[in-house]
Symmetry: C3
Subunit: 414 residues, 3 copies
């Protein structure tokens, strides 16, 4: 995160490519470049934006605002400009946060060609009548939209999609936190034997998801579960927004874990406003994709400002977010649906030493109950998660019981 | 209402015809006459009842009860009689309201030939031992059951049924209020361009609905939504009784409006007791017909008495009932189910100026959200009402957003 | 119960046969004997166990524990033994209840060959260092598992299963109470004209149910409703555990009665732990079989001890349990699904004198309403119990109304 922080990212341009170069030190990425003008459903890929320098000078020639101090100072996607303007004209192109006079806001103008500066309210209030030189050395040209993918093949072609956006400049929670957690999750998963295949997408917001879906329509049918994720570095609790379908396996898995952990959490129904789940859950796709975050956008004061920085986000919170993903993957991977091979009457566990064993392993009565629940409900219609919910026994115990019964050839996988 | 009030109506007879003559000044009506003895499902059309005069005289020849004072004085459907009786015999044929000693009750004996008088309890208590002449100049003869229909053709043959009963003599809430509100609603609707066709029925209670259904079985399949209505002139809130199916579109529409208005209201499940929804929701028809009223029958003191008069019902309350029907018609008419023509990914609203426009019209963020909700949920399975309920955004905003998107050719009607 | 109490029962052996001999004085029983070693699904029928005598003597030759005092003194299914042991060895084979120092616990070792004694904690604490003679004159030999059935044929081959376990030695609530209530219920039912056939099973726990299911697979399809029952002699309320399917007719019947009675009661979802519903509801059968008891096992202090005796269980409580079964049978027998022969519009009840009759019988308005509810909802999809629940009118009134309408040929049975 420290290495990625200074880079000026946007929905296109070199900042994104630089970001991927750094991420490649952790995980292999396949980089995709889609040319400006490519039709992607109802949209088209915009011009590529790059920026080298920008400042505002007063009539004394003093740089009073400098892009070198913070890349947030420039309205993201600003067209190039180099001219002298009065204070009144300048003010029409300035953005501040009056409630937080020391912070620089983050503003963008992707789809309407414009120029502007984002400055602290303190800086704004010191501006006096004067002629100002405004200078933005940016370019908006035919080029590419760049995104990265990392696909980890598992036993099945059914895949789990993890998608996070990479278009924000120097801010940590939104969304270096998502980039880092997804990267480290991918790094861990590639070492494991996996049932599902995993596809990690690192894409610019909105246009990136639309571009990916447009370019990969034939792969969409493999997406069995998915999570859009961001905002993983701030907040004392998780927020889960259900997929549009509302009760898919990923919804159940995340909600079950959140409830089982007993920690504070929030669960929201799908709404067509928010992150890229808007695209994955558009009615033409309606994928089983939810959105996992901590404090939602707009609900923490530092949101979209220079205060969303390396001091705001702590390693502990990032690690906590990563371990939530570990749990989710663990449940998805082990949430089999079994079939009891002796469905008539109970299985005689004692004869197989499965009761003795219980004593020996000191797993107690819950484990015995878990064996009975798994056997009774493994009728091909109940997944282990279903059994866990029905029985009130934690998924871990149910899963352990099922593994033991599977080992004893009392169950087969459906 | 003032003009209709004095007429002595019943389930058959001249009172009903006179009533229709007056209503015809407001709306065209087609009058149907069904002969006595006609088999209508399990029933048959009864003899036609007409009455010219009635009184009770004491032995001094004084008229102590006179039909000319109030047509409620005669047990509705009384057979003719002209004889002298003792007080004891008379008492067996008298009906009073001891709790309201100044009011005349309304009582009927349609299907059991009988005679009787309804008098105030004060009148009753003044009766002394005497020989009384009871005289009812009525007739019960082969004739007709008369009902009226007004059909307003719309774009679709699918129709909305509004049914109200016209069999009550001089009482205002029950049910001149229903007659008046339905008449004025019809008068308004005939001037409009309508999606649905509208069928207004003005029928005697129970036997009228059974007769109409029996005579119009082939039309029943066109009834897409319906409301039986009465008791629209008294009470500070609406009462809605769901159709037997319980969750049809008309049920959802009425309930959504009642909830959105935020006013006090009551919603009841269907029960096979009440008004003519009993017939429309009999198991052989099971139509999507609910019942809309204000204070239900039996729950206001003046119910079925001479106190249900022109002083009880106010124009304001009638107007409020009429405007409820306007709202219902409005939602029914505009509750389309659309299909988003760009279901994959979001539509680029900015490119079409749909975001600029928002600023210009000052419709704010709710309108933006409404656009997104309509686009995302217009998958052919969600009506605008469904989207309103799912999103928590009022129907009006959702409907306005859908119209705009339709105008921009982003939606088609399913 | 008094006669059955002294017998030493187990899952096999003479105690069971003796028990059936006594029960035969009340109801005819067909006795089935299944040989040791018979494969029954995943299990096999165990050796037959019989016991004649048992004791522990101290080195002075004094009998300090004697089977003649209580058959609970021997670990049920103990292998024969006759040897001298030290106190330390003896202690490994002794079972006590430290919290209830005067009570003898009930313990078994059916499927692991072992020997042992169950003694009061007071007896245990008096044991000093000594050499003890332990003597159990039991036998574990090829023989039979014995169970009894009583089948009462009704009009239908569809049957109601009532199953109770008969394997417990001298304890009253668990489960002489079940045996007695089931026996007296059967005795009553055999005198009645019944719609359903009734099958009473008197079987040893677990292995008995598995054996019966294995031997009678072809009969299982006839089981339309069923109850496993036990623990009917202790506790101020009933506990009902739903069938695995959770909302079958028997579940609805029992729950409706419990709620209508207004008494305290508990309703639990199915779990694969408890009584023989575990076998009837194993996934290969998944029968509509619930479990009816009073205070559940383990939740009353005397459970599985010598304190579960003739003083604990009172005739009043047993009679109350029996009358609960009478109610259940009554509702099952009369819970028909009817079809209204005049489904279009209402039936004209007045013409048939069904309203006059009402006055005459003084059944009041609820009865009138019940007639309307039954007619409206008798569409072939609603049983009388459904109508009772939908209307909020008690089953008795609904059932009486339906009988009357059936008598008048207004309904037919579906």
């Amino acid at each position: 995160m420290t290495e990625l922080f200074p880079i000026c990212r946007s929905i296109t341009g070199n900042g994104v490519c630089l970001t991927f170069d750094i991420m490649k030190k952790e995980i292999p990425l396949s980089i995709h470049k889609v040319p400006t003008g490519t039709k992607v459903f109802d949209w088209e890929v915009p011009k590529e934006w790059n920026i080298h320098d920008a400042h505002i000078r007063n009539s004394k020639g003093e740089k009073i605002i400098d892009f070198a101090d913070s890349n947030l100072h420039v309205l993201n996607y600003s067209a190039p400009i180099d001219k002298s303007v009065t204070l009144n004209v300048l003010k029409e192109h300035l953005y501040t946060l009056p409630e937080h006079p020391d912070w620089i806001p983050y503003r963008t103008s992707y789809y309407k060609e414009d120029w502007g500066f984002c400055i602290t309210h303190n800086q704004f209030q010191k501006l006096s009548e004067d002629i100002y030189d405004v200078y933005i050395d940016s370019s908006l040209k035919e080029g590419y939209l760049t995104y990265a993918e990392y696909y980890i093949p598992g036993e099945l072609t059914d895949e789990v999609l993890i998608s996070t956006r990479i278009c924000h400049p120097s801010m940590c929670n939104d969304n270096l936190s998502g980039i880092c957690v997804a990267t480290y999750l991918a790094k861990e998963l590639r070492k494991k034997k996996l049932r599902y295949s995993y596809r990690f997408l690192f894409i610019p917001g909105t246009i990136g998801a639309i571009t990916w879906l447009s370019a990969n329509e034939s792969k969409v049918k493999n997406i069995r579960h998915g999570l859009v994720t961001s905002l993983l570095g701030v907040g004392d609790h998780f927020t889960y927004k259900r997929s549009r379908r509302g009760n898919t396996e990923i919804d159940q898995v995340v909600e079950t874990i959140l409830k089982a952990n007993g920690d504070k959490h929030q669960i929201h129904n799908f709404s067509p406003y928010g992150d890229d789940e808007r695209q994955f859950c558009s009615p033409g796709f309606n994928l089983p994709v939810g959105c996992l975050m901590r404090t939602p956008f707009g609900e923490y004061p530092e949101y979209h400002s220079s205060a969303d920085n390396l001091e705001l986000v702590t390693p502990e919170v990032l690690e906590n977010s990563l371990s939530m993903f570990r749990e989710i993957v663990n449940v998805l991977e082990s949430n089999y649906t079994y079939v009891n091979l002796n469905p008539k009457g109970e299985v005689q566990l004692g004869r197989r030493g499965l009761y003795n064993m219980i004593g020996g392993e000191n797993l107690g009565k819950d484990y015995q109950l878990a064996l009975l629940w798994v056997l009774n409900y493994s009728d091909g219609n109940h997944s282990l998660l279903d059994i866990s919910k029905e029985s009130g026994i934690d998924f871990e115990s149910i899963s352990k019981a099922a593994s033991r019964l599977f080992e004893y050839k009392l169950l087969i996988k459906r």
